[in-house]
Every structure is written in C-alpha cells, then in structure tokens.
C-alpha cells in the first residue's frame, strides 16, 4: 500500500516535471532553430573561406561597436582557423593603430599594429561605448559564441548530449541577426530599440539591424545576402570563441580509438583471468 502510494506520488512528480517546461516555453522564450555547421559533429572542422568572409564582416561591420579583446591578430593565420597567409596577417595587423608606450619621453604613442597585438577596442572604455550607443554597451565578441545559448528544456538536453550538440551559440547569433522584424501592432518600442523575435532577453534589442543585402563585398562569388552574412559571421565568432576546436576533435578521435581498442584488450584479458572462477 505504502509502495503504491509513493509510486503514485513519484509518477505525479515526474508527470508534472514533464509538463513544466512546455508551460514556461509558452511564455515566449524564443525558439532557436538548429542550423547546419561545418564544425559540428565528431569530425567537424572550420571552413577557412567562410571564416575569412566572416572576418571581413567583423572588420567592416561589427568592429565599429564591438571589441574582441581576447583574440590575437596572429591567430588569423591559424591553419585550423581563417588560414590567412603570413603576409595577409601582417597587412591586417598594420591596418590597426595600437596605443603603446610610454616611450623614453614618457609619452604614450600610437603605432601600426603587429600580428602579436590583440584586436584593439573601438571605444577606450565602457562609458564612452555607452555614450556612443544610446546607453547600451555592445558586448565583447571574443567569447560570445559560447556565452549565449537558448535553454533546451527537459528532455531535449539529454538528446543534445547524445548528438554532441555544441552549436547553440552560433545558432543563436544566426537567429538573432536574421530575426529583425517590424514591431507587431500593439507593441510599443522604447526609444532607440529594435524589434527582434530571437533576442533572449525580451523582444527589444538596442543593436540596430547590422546587416543588409550587398553591404559587404564578397570576392569568391558567395551570395551577398543577410542570410549568408549571418552564417559567415556566426562561424567566425565560433572560431574566435573556440580556436582549438579542430585540434580538440582530432586529438579526441585518436584518444577515443585508443581507448576502445584498449578496452577491448582489457575485456578479453579480464575474461581470461576470471575464466577459472565462477562469479
């Protein structure tokens, strides 16, 4: 009797737990669709051409307001990244003015960037960034692809572990950049805000729609559309946040193959050793 009671109690608990998230999802948490990325899955790798296009968008669009302080310019030459040539990296670096010093006169001075420099921020401090952006602070982009994710409710997060889903960040960035819409009737936008159905903290975002068709010139024949731009910049930001992704998956494959073989050998050794003992 007590057993049945407690079982019923737990089944009730579990049932309520299962229906919980759908109730909260109805409150308007945006649904972020899963896109297909070259870097997903156990053999995922970055597409250098895509990262180079993404970098161009960062350079010509994003970097006007957003910093990327943890990324060194030299890493653009990484062969598991954008794979720019050494000369191209030097040229990109020299395009930036970096504050250095003090010199022997005790003065700070500006000099052309070097590959070892990090990307310089567009604003000297948070206050000036806020002043220039209507009070909003454009977040640093170095880790943005790992610092944003829509929550997968129960039981979806279990499948995410089994399918190795780690692309919630780029999926979100892509969705955010492609989900600017006219505010529906009855929605009063605050001054300086834009309507975006993918934004995680409400539908009003201070960032104006940053991309428009034909805005950035592609030289490799890739379509110059907002959709393509959004994919390329999302991929680039994933690389910026996780530059060792390829190395990780490659090392991982070798380790896993070794472990599987080792486990197999140990299994048969164990059977041999225990073969004379009933257990």
């Amino acid at each position: 009797m007590t057993i049945r009671l407690s079982l019923a109690l737990v089944l009730g608990l579990a049932g309520a737990a299962l229906t919980g998230p759908s109730a909260s999802a109805a409150e308007g948490a945006p649904h972020i669709p899963k896109e297909s990325w070259s870097f997903s899955g156990p053999f995922g790798h970055y597409d250098p051409a895509q990262l180079q296009r993404g970098f161009k968008i960062y350079q010509e669009v994003c970097s006007a307001c957003h910093s990327m302080e943890y990324v060194a310019i030299r890493t653009l030459g990484s062969d598991s990244g954008p794979y720019f040539s050494e000369a191209a990296v030097k040229e990109i670096a020299s395009g930036y003015q970096i504050e250095d010093g003090p010199n022997d006169q005790g003065e700070m001075y500006e000099r052309p960037g070097r590959p070892s420099d990090h990307f310089p921020p567009p604003f000297p401090n948070e206050e000036s960034a806020r002043l220039a952006n209507g009070g909003a602070y454009p977040p640093d982009l170095s880790l943005i692809a790992k610092a944003r994710a829509a929550h997968a409710g129960f039981p979806w997060f279990v499948f995410d572990a089994l399918t190795q889903y780690q692309e919630a960040g780029p999926d979100y960035i892509y969705a955010l950049l492609t989900h600017y819409e006219e505010a529906p009737e009855g929605v009063e936008l605050s001054p300086g805000m834009y309507y975006n159905t993918a934004f995680l903290s409400g539908n009003q975002i201070a960032m104006p729609p940053p991309l428009s068709d034909g805005q950035v010139e592609y030289t490799d024949g890739t379509p110059e559309t907002v959709d393509q731009y959004a994919r390329d910049i999302s991929a680039f930001l994933m690389w910026a946040a996780e530059p060792k992704l390829e190395e990780r998956k490659q090392v991982g494959f070798k380790v896993m193959v070794f472990l599987v073989v080792f486990a197999g050998l140990l299994y048969f050794t164990k059977r041999k050793i225990w073969s004379d003992v009933a257990h």
Partner: protein
C-alpha cells in the same frame, strides 16, 4: 583482514628495506593478496574510478595553477590565455572542468551503490562516515573551483552560497564578512578560494587513505551482503580485481572523453563565459549540476534559515544513516519492500536535481517540497520502519554458495587464492 598474506621479501634490497620500513609487506597484503569477495559486480569498480579521478584532478589542477592568476582583474583573462596560448591548455582546462563533473557522477553512483547494498551497516559505519566527509570536502572543493574563472556564474554563485551563512542568527553577518574578507565577494574572496581549492584536494586524499584503511579492516561488502565466511568466498585482489577495475576505468575514460572532446561546455553554464560583473545580476543563478538537488531543497523551504538547515540536514542525515536503518539484512537484493522505496528515492533525487535548475516559483517549489519530504522521510521514517516490518527473502549461506548455486558448478577454489578463513563478522 590481516594474516592472509604469506609474502616474504625476496632479494637483498627488498629485505633490507622491508626490515626498516615494511612497505612491501603492507602493499602486498593490501593491494596484491587482499581477499576480495568473488561476486562483486561492476558497481564495485567506482572506488577505483574515483581514485583515478582524484589523481586526474590533482595533476591537471597543479598544472593549471601554474598558469592561472587569482586576481579579480586578471583571473578571467588568465583562463582565456590557458585556452588559447598555453600548449594543450584547452585540454587541461576542459579535463579539469569536466573531470569535476565526472568525479561527482562517479561518487553519486558509488553512494547509491552503498545505499542499495547496505554497505553502511555494521561493521562499516566508520567507512561510510569517512565517505560522507569526502563527499562534503568534494562539494567545498567543487564550489570554490567554479568561482576561480571569475565569470558571471562564478561571482553570483559565490555571492548566493556565502550569503547562506548570514541566515545564522546573531553571528551570521560577521561570519559572512569573515568568509569574504571584506564587505562583498571581491579580490580577498577569490584569493582565499584559490588557496583553499588547492588545499582541499590533498585533505580529500588524506581522508581517502583513511577510507581505504577502514575498508580493509572488514573487507568489501558484496551484492549478497553476506559476510565473507571462508576463503572459498574470495579471490585475491590481484589480478582479479585489478584487471576488472582497470577495464572499468578505461570504460569510464571513454564516457569522460565523450564530454571532454566533443561537448566540453555541455555541463557548464554559458554565463560563465561572461566576465564577472558585480553590477549585473544574471536572470537565473544556477549552481553546477551536482549541487542542484541540494539547491532545490534549499529553496523549497520558505524561510532562509530553514532552507539552510534543510540543505545541510540533507547531507548531515547521511552521517547517522548506519543507525537509522534497522534492517539486519544488508543487501537490497533480499529486501522486497526496500527496493521500490529505494528506486523512488533515486528518482526523487534526480527530479530534485532538475527542479534545482528551474526558477524557484509556482509548481516547481511545490514539487521540490514534495521531493524534500520524501528525501527526509526515506531516511528518518521509511528505513527505520522497514527494518521492523519487512519480511526479507532467504539469504544464501555464503557468497560461494550464492555464486555456485547460480552457475551450477565451477571450481570452488580460484587458483592462487590465499584468502583468510572465516573469522570476520
């Protein structure tokens, strides 16, 4: 379980060393010849897996500490340097961060195994209590480790958890300021957390040695719960248990590798990739997954002090568990009434964990209250009463009988067995 080993040091140096420090005799008795029940299942390999994880955490942690900077202005950046510029730094850090989760997965399986098979009952009470001490030390270490990257969840998790102590009447505020080393979570807090995070694993190692010592006096429990009665019941630790443990450790490494190499951020929170900002509170402050059942209990109680007492009580009750369970039968395999209550308990713990990750409002709080009541009732009412009213199924006369009866034959005496005769309770 002394006297089972007939080891004599061979060779000049071994004799010379062993007559001065009998470490060879000790290790042979405890790690080579040690008599171990022949019927242990794979749940008994988690002790070895936990030992492996402790070593993994200490080794990766020491190397990480060589590159980490415990300062509020530099900590986040130093972690990024490890990820981007240190050779295999990404591997070290992901191994350490995911290793903590693996450590807790293994310890929870280890604890539930002990609960199911009654491993806490006489004569293993001290062994169990030392295990709970290790669990507490692990929680403290895990909590402080999560603070070190100085992301948003680090900072706000530290703020929420340290603030719990302010619920203590009269001296609470003073204790919190003493913990912080100031009037808020700040640089002194980060510094001392780093110092303690480096210290506590070595305390864990010390208690682990006591834990193994306490294990090697009565010897292992086993799936029947029946004590070892003769050397027919046991096999020597080496090679029988060593090979089985090694196999299980490699399987566990495969599980670990899945997370480490393919979904290294799955168990973390995205907000911890945002540098700590004392002026911006995250929408939901969530601790690491392994604290979630206790976090749910904390928030299930409407008063702050009550919540803190309930949360610490949920762990404290484990200390007196050996005296709460009145059943003379150890193993759940022979306790038909215990089993459903046990599995409901496991399910309740999992559901409490999920509730801990949800906002503390509405139906979630009510469910957490029901779960909490069952959690405490399991220890304080169900286990004491079950032992008095339950009709257990017949126990096998011995481990050997349970094994041989099942397989219908086979050799009773494993080759090379040197087990002690039955003089243990």
């Amino acid at each position: 379980m002394s006297g089972h080993s007939t080891y004599q040091p061979q060779g000049k140096f071994a004799k010379w060393l062993d007559s001065r420090l009998p470490i060879l005799t000790l290790m042979n008795a405890q790690a080579i010849d040690f008599p171990t029940p022949r019927n242990l299942n794979y749940f008994w390999t988690f002790g070895a897996i936990l030992m492996m994880m402790l070593v993994v955490q200490i080794v990766t942690g020491i190397v990480l500490a060589m590159h980490y900077t415990a300062n509020v202005d530099l900590a986040f950046e130093s972690v990024e340097k490890i990820m981007r510029d240190v050779n295999f730094g990404w591997l070290l850090r992901y191994m350490h961060a995911n290793g903590a989760s693996m450590f807790f997965i293994a310890v929870y399986i280890h604890i539930f195994r002990g609960l199911y098979y009654g491993s806490y009952k006489a004569p293993r009470e001290i062994l169990w209590i030392l295990g709970v001490v290790i669990f507490l030390l692990m929680m403290a270490t895990g909590f402080m480790g999560y603070v070190l990257p100085w992301g948003q969840m680090s900072f706000w998790g530290a703020t929420v958890i340290t603030n719990l102590f302010s619920a203590i009447p009269l001296i609470g505020e003073s204790i919190v300021q003493w913990l912080w080393g100031g009037f808020s979570v700040a640089n002194p807090t980060l510094n001392r957390f780093f110092a303690l995070h480096y210290l506590l694993p070595f305390m864990i190692l010390g208690v682990v040695i006591l834990h193994i010592w306490a294990l090697h006096v009565p010897g292992n429990n086993n799936p029947t719960g029946v004590s070892v009665k003769s050397n027919q019941d046991t096999v020597p630790f080496h090679p029988y248990i060593t090979i089985k443990d090694t196999f299980a450790m490699v399987l566990f490494c495969l599980f670990f590798g899945w997370f480490l190499f393919y979904i290294p951020n799955y168990l973390g929170h995205p907000d911890n990739y945002i540098p700590a900002d004392p002026l911006v509170t995250p929408a939901h402050i969530v601790p690491e997954w392994y604290f979630l059942p206790f976090y749910a209990i904390l928030r299930a109680v409407p008063s702050k002090l009550g919540g803190v007492i309930a949360m610490f009580g949920a762990i404290a009750v484990l200390f007196i568990l050996p005296w709460l369970d009145t059943s003379k039968v150890r193993s759940g395999a022979f306790r038909p009434m215990f089993r459903p209550f046990f599995w409901v308990f496991v399910l309740v713990c999992i559901i409490l964990g999920w509730l801990g990750s949800q906002p503390a409002e509405g139906v979630y709080v009510i469910l957490a209250r029901i779960g909490m009541v069952y959690y405490f009732a399991f220890f304080l009412i169900i286990l004491p009463v079950l032992g008095l009213i339950e009709r257990t199924t017949p126990l096998p006369a011995s481990i050997a009988e349970s094994v041989l009866g099942k397989s219908g034959g086979g050799s009773a005496q494993p080759a090379g067995s040197t087990a002690a005769p039955a003089d243990k309770g």
